[in-house]
């Protein structure tokens, strides 16, 4: 496994974090990630992340549920075993609306949650690397990935000047537990 070096800086205030992210990107450093204890609105845009398409996936799962319900009920009640209920038409769509709706919601919700877990690589028993355990408490942790062009000492000083405290250089093995590296270019457009 290859090893990668990270420069890790901690912030206690999101008001300091925002300009720091801007400076780091402008200076051309490769921003690995920022770990925050709660969703900081606008940080994704500041980091240059593209919007998530998770909702589009949800829509696709939803219509899959709709067509599954309509398709299956139609087949079961008109073709496979048509039962005459008081002379009503076999194809009685209005009576199927409730189940069609429920399956739409069910497919969309389950599909989205599974996709979310897959994209973020979250599952029971998964252990991921944590740069600072306080990033789930009150600290905003920024990790810069060192490339061949990065001067470590300079980068540490740069982060400190941007308001980070307790800046450290850490070496980590790469792998899925560090986060997804495969499509870096897409993530940091």
């Amino acid at each position: 496994m290859a090893k990668k070096k990270f420069i890790v800086g901690n912030f206690t205030d999101e008001a300091v974090l925002f300009p720091a992210v801007k400076k780091v990107r402008r200076a051309g450093y490769k921003l690995h990630d920022v770990f925050t204890p709660f969703p900081v609105h606008g940080l994704d845009k500041e980091m240059g992340l593209r919007d998530t398409s998770l909702h589009t996936a949800g829509f696709i799962y939803g219509i899959t549920g709709t067509s599954t319900a309509v398709g299956f009920i139609t087949w079961a009640l008109t073709i496979d075993w048509a039962i005459n209920f008081g002379g009503k038409p076999y194809f009685s769509l209005p009576a199927w609306i409730p189940i069609t709706f429920e399956l739409t919601v069910l497919f969309a919700a389950v599909g989205m949650v599974l996709t979310f877990c897959w994209l973020c690589q979250l599952a029971p028993f998964v252990k991921k690397h944590h740069f600072n355990p306080r990033s789930t408490d009150d600290t905003f942790v920024m990790a810069i990935e060192c490339t061949s062009a990065t001067n470590e000492e300079e980068a540490v000083r740069f982060l400190q000047a941007a308001g980070a405290t307790d800046v450290k250089v850490e070496t980590k093995e790469t792998g899925w537990w560090l986060g997804d590296y495969s499509n870096d270019k897409m993530r940091f457009a």
Partner: protein
Amino acid sequence: MSLLRYESQVRAPLIDGTKDYHQITEDICRPVESKPSRLWLIGFSISVALLLFGILSVTMEVIYGTGQWNLNRTIGWGWDITNFVWWIGIGHAGTLISAILLLFRQGWRTGVNRAAEAMTIFAVMCAGQFPILHMGRVWNAFFVLPYPNIRGPLWVNFNSPLLWDVFAISTYFTVSLLFWYSGLLPDLATLRDRAKLKWRKTFYGIAAFGWTGSTKHWQRHESLLLVLAGLSTPLVLSVHTIVSFDFATSVVPGWHTTIFPPYFVAGAIFSGFAMVQTLVLVMRKVLSLEEYITIEHVDVMNKVIILTGSIVGIAYLTELFMAWYSAFDYEWFAFKENRLNLNSPYGWSYWLMMGCNVLSPQIFWFRKMRRNLLVTFFISILVNIGMWFERFVIIVTSVYRDYLPSSWSTYYVPTIWEVGFYLGTFGLFFTCYFLFSKYFPVIAIAEIKHILKRSGENYKSKMSKEEEDTVTQFGEHHLHDHH
């Protein structure tokens, strides 16, 4: 993901005291990380005892059949279905708080949504057992699912409201569970990273799914919760609508009413909020979370109670009026003789329902009463009772007298096993709730942190000075909010 946010200066803060992010973590994690209190142990033991009695009652019913209950001709649905509708209704407030109020951008939901969602899940767990055990041969319960079988295959009747119920309740449970657990992930990670004991590290490590708080993950998380909220909103309306179809699509006088869907949904939210109040009032006191679940929250929820209670009141009067105006003898008889008439066998239950559901919440027109914890607690209990009787009135008073007087039922009194089953679901509900309040954060930590700088008391006072800022100055101070 940034959405237009504006916090009114007039509105009271939602988080009292001088808090910072770390203090919030400490306050909410304290009950989880400390030893269970004596009060908790007593409450938990009582719940488990009730649960065991419930298990005994259910065992009796499974071994000897539904004959263990006092159901008869014509009362085929009695306490079981009453309890089913009651529990499922209670669940609805959790979804209303977590989903509908999220879409309406109601900041106050943050203090109570986690607890209310947990309540939803446990309530639906309790509800689901009643129709399943009412089937009698419970080991054949899987017959309700459309699976390929050797009988043809013979499919279930997709045109039946009872089957719609199967799909509605199971979808509702699944989606609520996913919604609740997705929201829990970041907070479980907080507990994991604070854990000192080995079993805690392991337990919360498994439970937190490896959450790190990466910005990309948060972005997806917010998108996920928003869409789940958007899905849950029509879902919660559909669930009680479908429950009401169980009655409304029949031709039984007293059930055959087109007003049922909205009337049931309003009633569900009404009873659910009452249960939220009952639970939250005790919880904030016992776990000392008064600064997060403030009087402001209690006040707002009481406003929802008076709104939905009054909608329910109008629905009662409307169905009464329509029963008379329809000039349909049987319908009017069901209302006039079986319900309104206090001397009829079940007349008392109708008037008890009216008193608890329509009259008692009217006290909340007074701000002082809305902010009085004792009054709120008392009324919430009354509403819980009243809403149980609403379902009892709808079910039993409609069926105990048939079209044919010779088949009118004798007075229906539940057996000990029927009552035991109901008490057992209380046991299940509170056992789950006690475990939840001990081992999970009862308030959404990350979400509270998210609103702290807008609605925290110590930040709010600073904000009001900025009202005098010019637009440019304000923009400079809040630049990070407007990307």
